[in-house]
């Protein structure tokens, strides 16, 4: 045989988008919320972010190394996980906790199930729930240092959502502050504005489709309105918007419910998933005993993803369309 050339199956061209670049875009989209968090809570918050990201990357590298697997640090997913863990922590957390959380997220939730793409729940959220159950005190201690620039809720000294739960909307923490983010809470969840800027980045670069977050936030809003009307409170815009902007809803809906690996791949499944999360969050926050509900709603939703996919398989082209 004479000279031969390179062959492969079609197609012979590839899109420029890579896993790496997608993860980098998510990290970039999280930056506004991270920066507001650091501005809001001071240097201590920066330290938590740094420790979480670095420990996630190290655990990822270490696991690959010990298990003699190809190094997957370069895909940037560990950085995103680390960032999300940090944004879900109060700024005053003891620093060993995010390290423990990172180990749990990367090694137990992600790598033991086969690494990127195989984990059945969002690693960062699993870590948050794990820490929440183990160290509820530290995880819900939102006491802030002197550097804090936000509005402190004098009534309770707790997060706006907890106050909302206890007293209803009193206007103590105005909706505007909840939107801008200078209130108490975890590092990354306080500023709806910063998170929405990040969401815009995700949408503009087509990293995510709006299906899950829009259905999530939309159904939660509807649930809240129904709740207000059904319990005789009457429609209260302040209550509604503090529910939407307060707590982890924006962070969860835009950045964690949309995690590719743990959300349905089917377009209709994404709608079902979003609505399901909205209703579940409503039940947890408004009817259940806790003020927060986003993390648990998403984790439970993650577990139902295979089932949701099975019931929302798309109809193949030509199998349901209009016949002549």
């Amino acid at each position: 045989m004479e000279q031969t050339y390179q062959v492969s199956s079609n197609p012979h061209v590839r899109d420029k988008m890579t896993t790496e670049r997608l993860m980098q875009l998510v990290a970039i989209a999280l930056l506004p919320a991270t920066l507001v968090g650091i501005w809001n809570f001071g240097l201590r918050a920066f330290l938590v972010v740094l420790v979480s990201v670095v420990s996630c990357v190290i655990f990822e590298w270490l696991y690959d190394r010990l298990m003699k697997k190809p190094n997957t640090v370069r895909d940037f997913s560990a950085v995103v996980t680390g960032l999300l863990i940090a944004l879900n922590m109060p700024s005053g957390i003891p620093l060993w906790m995010p390290i423990l959380g990172s180990a749990f997220a990367i090694i137990v939730v992600k790598q033991l199930f086969g690494g990127l793409g195989q984990n059945f729940m969002n690693p960062a959220l699993a870590a948050r729930c794990f820490l929440m159950i183990s160290f509820a005190g530290s995880m819900t201690n939102f006491a802030v240092g002197e550097g804090f620039k936000g509005v402190i809720d004098a009534t309770t000294g707790a997060t706006p959502l907890a106050a909302l739960k206890a007293h209803g909307y009193t206007g103590e923490v105005p909706v505007l502050n909840l939107f801008l983010g200078n209130v108490q809470g975890t590092i990354g969840e306080t500023s709806a504005l910063a998170l929405l800027i990040g969401a815009a980045i995700l949408l503009i670069f087509k990293v995510i489709s709006p299906r899950i977050p829009v259905c999530y936030i939309g159904s939660f809003a509807v649930f809240t309105i129904i709740y207000m009307l059904a319990t005789g409170k009457g429609f209260d815009g302040g209550f509604l918007f503090s529910q939407l902007f307060g707590g982890g809803l924006m962070l969860g809906a835009w950045f964690m419910a949309t995690d590719y690996v743990t959300s349905p791949i089917t377009p209709n499944g994404q709608i079902v998933f979003g609505v399901f999360l909205g209703i579940l969050t409503g039940i947890f926050r408004l009817i259940g005993s806790s003020a927060e509900g986003v993390s648990y709603a998403i984790i439970i939703g993650n577990l139902l993803v295979p089932m949701i996919e099975r019931f929302t398989l798309p109809t193949a082209f030509g199998k349901g369309g209009k016949k002549a």
């Binding site: 079609n10 012979h12 793409g117 791949i265 193949a316 030509g318």
Partner: protein, 438 residues
């Protein structure tokens, strides 16, 4: 007019500017000509010449081997040198007639005809005699396609001028340079279907073709021009039918099941030549393109031309090129050797200096769903490919893996660079083979 389109698909880099404004050249080869007996779907043709016979250009050298088959004609004059196995562009060995080209190109006489004087049966006979096959890629014998069970139920004759594959411009050049032939060919087809309208379907990245065609058909009541949104794979038969008529066919149906007949630009021109001029299918317009081609342009060459000879005569390949593809970048075949003939379905040769596929390493699927959004068959390529990789035929079929049209969109968009199309394609072949066994 709203642009017609379908759901799914994508916009790859077009690459058409490399060749679209350059004049078409004509090449008359001098080397041996090779005519594989299978240049179409169906039974191979049966040689009607023997070694040592002298043939003229336009002379039939092989008869159709059955109803679903097509005859083959010499495209040069000379002497039959051998009938032997030869390599074809798709990589297999096919029994072929080899003719020693005398370079004279002495032709037989062709019997032209007037459309008015032809009845339907004669039109189909002339198409068959001309060896016309679908040149969009599949090579389905055209006289079979144009003879559905119920011709009265055909409502649309779609002339596929989408040319959605990146880099390819041969249909574009044809539409610009031979629009009258195209319209005449379409009228021939319309004569077969009394209840049909003819639609010339062109993507909106070719506004000059659209304008030219519109001017040409404005007084013809049965023909209209349809403007399509530029999107790959708009030129796929199923997607074209969907975009223009809103009707859908799946993998087990034919266009005729929804009242449509689809023919591509080259085929319609071949129909015109076969029916009205009596000339059989003997030449192909081929796009030579890509950054590895020294002089990208369109060239008209006889079928049977050795690809190596053709490319060398047209400027050759650049030093250090790494990949040569027969067809477009999305659905073409990579060739390991250029000593193959141009056949009826050859449309282009694309040379890449760098092969983007071998430069990437597939990593884990991150379930991002980009393949789902791009799939024009509306299946879940990521899932279906996994079933294929696991050899799980039951799940593969349950998740409609057989509906895949092998367009390559899923592999193209995959950020993890997984060869989804490849996995699905090979599983489809296995399923089809196992079905045939039953």
């Amino acid at each position: 007019m709203a642009l017609l389109t379908f759901k799914g698909g994508l916009h790859p880099f077009e690459g058409k500017e490399l060749t679209k404004d350059l004049p078409v050249e004509v090449y008359m080869p001098t080397g041996d000509m090779v005519y594989p007996l299978s240049q179409h779907i169906g039974a191979p043709a049966v040689p009607c010449v023997a070694k040592g016979d002298t043939v003229l250009r336009g002379q039939k050298i092989a008869d159709a081997g059955g109803f679903v088959s097509a005859p083959i004609h010499a495209s040069c004059s000379g002497k039959v040198k051998a009938i032997e196995m030869r390599l074809v562009p798709t990589g297999s060995m096919v029994n072929s007639i080899v003719i020693e080209n005398d370079g004279e190109y002495n032709e037989v006489e062709y019997q032209g005809a007037d459309l008015e004087s032809l009845d339907k049966k004669t039109i189909l006979e002339r198409i068959q005699a001309g060896g016309v096959v679908g040149m969009g890629g599949a090579g389905f014998p055209t006289h079979v396609k144009l003879a559905p069970k119920e011709p009265d139920k055909i409502e649309y004759v779609l002339l596929n001028g989408a040319e959605c594959e990146p880099y390819l411009t041969s249909d574009y050049k044809r539409m610009l340079e031979k629009p009258e032939k195209l319209v005449a060919g379409l009228q021939v087809i319309l004569k077969l279907f009394d209840n049909a309208v003819g639609c010339i379907c062109i993507e909106n990245n070719k506004p000059d073709c659209i304008a030219k065609m519109q001017a040409l058909v404005k007084d013809l009541p049965r023909i209209e021009v349809k403007e399509l949104l530029t999107k790959y794979p708009q030129g796929g038969e199923r997607n074209l039918i969907k975009a223009v008529t809103g009707r859908e066919i799946n993998s087990t149906m034919l266009p005729a099941d929804v009242g449509c007949v689809v023919d591509n630009v080259d085929t319609v021109i071949a129909i015109e030549e076969a029916v009205l001029e009596g000339r059989p299918l003997m030449t192909k317009l081929i796009t030579l393109t890509g950054d590895g081609m020294a002089r990208p342009h369109n060239v008209e060459t006889p079928t049977g031309t050795d690809v190596q000879e053709l490319i060398e005569s047209q400027g050759g390949l650049k030093e250090g090129f790494s990949k040569l593809i027969a067809g477009g970048p999305m659905m073409g075949f990579a060739m390991y050797n250029t000593h193959v003939p141009c056949v009826k379905t050859t449309s282009s040769f694309l040379a890449f200096m760098e092969d983007p596929v071998s430069q990437t390493t597939p990593t884990a699927c991150i379930n991002c769903g980009r393949c789902v959004g791009a799939c024009p068959s509306h299946i879940l390529p990521a899932r279906v490919a996994t079933f294929a990789e696991h050899g799980d035929q039951a799940m593969f079929e349950k998740y409609d893996g057989m509906e895949c049209c092998e367009c390559g969109c899923c592999s193209y968009v995959c950020p993890a660079k997984r060869p989804l199309t490849q996995s699905i394609k090979s599983m489809r072949k296995m399923v089809l083979a196992s079905r045939r066994k039953k």
